[in-house]
Amino acid sequence: MKTEKEKLSDFVEEPYKYGFETKIESDMAPKGLSEDIIRFISAKKNEPEWLLAFRLKAYKHWLTLKEPHWGKLSYQPIDYQSLYYYAAPKKNETPKSLDEVDPEILKTYEKLGIPLKEQEALAGVAVDAIFDSVSVATTYKAHLKEKGIIFCSISEAVRDYPELVQKYLGSVVPPTDNFFAALNSAVFSDGSFVYIPKGVRCPVELSSYFRINARNSGQFERTLIIADEESYVSYLEGCTAPQRDENQLHAAIVEIIVHDDAEVKYSTVQNWYPGDKDGKGGIYNLVTKRGLCHRNAKLSWTQVETGSAITWKYPSCILKGDNSVGEFYSVALTNNYQQADTGTKMIHIGKNTSSTIISKGISAGYSNNTYRGLVQIAPSATNAKNVSKCDSLLIGDKCGAHTIPVMKCANTSGVIEHEATTSKISEEQLFYAEARGLNQEEAVGLIVNGFCREVMQKLPMEFAIEAQRLIGIQLEGSIG
């Protein structure tokens, strides 16, 4: 028997044995990951040479790395050679009408109040609904173009704005950053690209939801946002509707560059399939999100994480420029057998930099919910300030909540404040609300949303209302 290492090196050094050209004709790459597969993906997407080189370099580095397991997460090792890294959408397998869609999903759509046409689009029914969104998206795009704002898929950006992509891709999250970042850099499928020119305030909330094909960005999504000097943009990722995907592994990267005096707000509602109530199935969401703040820049991350079986995600801010500001507002809700290990990193490098962390973890069922954060004040960061507040709410007595804040301060003028609480929904609170006519689910939803209010307030209005409803739905049946 060969050792793993030998097998791996055989694999890496295996001579090129598939006819590269013939593969291009097919819609699907064979299982597994190799240089050939990466060349195949790159060719399929008609990518320039530099991007192929970027991917290959990332791949080679990935081979030297081990899957990280420091998170408070337990799952079966992922067999990377049994995954498909490129597949054109399979037309035959999409449902022909809503009658073919899982009634459980339809019920949730209904509760969220999603219009029928949109339900069809979300469930992947191949219908006219797409045409609606094409027209919406087109109007939207024309409007943005007037301001010089670029908002397109990353593949289009590679084709149309190669200098921008080449300059910034991997500049905040280098391909060597971590195991999943290396994997994503090697095989990323698609994602969003945003550029806000100098001095421009983006007049609308940019939503990945409105970008055509965003829903089919695949399992290795890549987002790159550049806010030039004195610009502003609010970006929304995801939607509250439950999303199913055949791919169990999702390893995305989001990179944000906030130039001098610019501000970026990035809001996420993540509702990937969490698995069934016995913990079977569900998405592994292993994400690297990071932003770089230049002088006087501000970056706010707001996330509402309710989906996925496994969440491994730490949206971070590198506060490089003087007076820059980083914010992280998070609600992570786990139910049944979900596991979330999420938090942030605030790296203070510039003078007078400040950061705020507000994390609300809600655990129900048999789930495990961990806040993991790092606040680091570098020797150069004179007068840096951080305020962190981490609250956990437990529903039932079979779940777990954990808080792991790490603070490193290398400048004596630094001020770090940390506060943490853990509480439970009491029988008295539930009874009080029920005695006013709320059923148990409404009562739990209201109390949990009250607990999350500080974070929910940071979401754009419409998103916030949907997110509140979503939290109620996700907790259904958690008491009893």
């Binding site: 009491s426 029988e427 008295e428 609170q429 009874f431 009080y432 609300a433 029920e434 005695a435 006013r436 006519g437 709320l438 059923n439 148990q440 409404e442 009562a443 209201l446 109390i447 949303n449 009250g450 607990f451 999350c452 209010r453 500080e454």
Partner: protein
Amino acid sequence: MSFLEIKGLHASVGEKEILKGVDLTVNAGEVHVIMGPNGSGKSTLSNVIAGHPAYHVTSGSIFFKGKDLLAMTPDERANTGVFLAFQTPTELPGVGTALFLKTALNAKKKFLGEKPLDAVQFMKRLKTRAQALGVTDEMLKRAVNVGFSGGEKKRMETFQMAFLEPDFCILDEMDSGLDIDALKTVGDGINVLREPHRSFLMITHFQRLLEYVVPDYIHIMIDGKIVRSGDKTLAEQLEERGYEEFK
């Protein structure tokens, strides 16, 4: 058909029996008062009527407007018209009072198959009732019962009752911890709600609330049973002689 009819009610917390056979009939429009020493089961009775999960009914029945209350969940009881003003209202951090009341009212409307109030109708109803009870806008913006003084909490309970317009109001020691002014406000709030279709069950230790809200009947509860019923003069006797002679 009686408005509220309790027959042979026995209830326990854990292993301990607290109600040991309560019989009580309340007709529409009446105000009943239950008085009794500490630990006699007064608060247990109000919690059992409202459906608190910690209390277990071991035998007996409660019928409200002809419906079997014990077969209903607490929210169904509330939406059928039962209201419990709590002795010590619980705090709901982060849950705005206005939002809470809107959710409660619309839950009731939904239960009764009525249309929910729109934002304008809701605000109008909220403001009118709030003003009558001296509940300020600032209080409505606070989270439910968070940062309220004892007196403010009682006033909010009375206000919630006025807002939700229940048919059967249980007031669990509304007078405890209130000064004379607050007592008068709460008393006025109750009197305004006295109507032919609405009844009250007030639980109290003291006679002083009865100076503001004049009851039709007074019941004395001792050791889980109603041992004596009478009109308002019973309270006066009690004031003079204490519970000893009723034991």
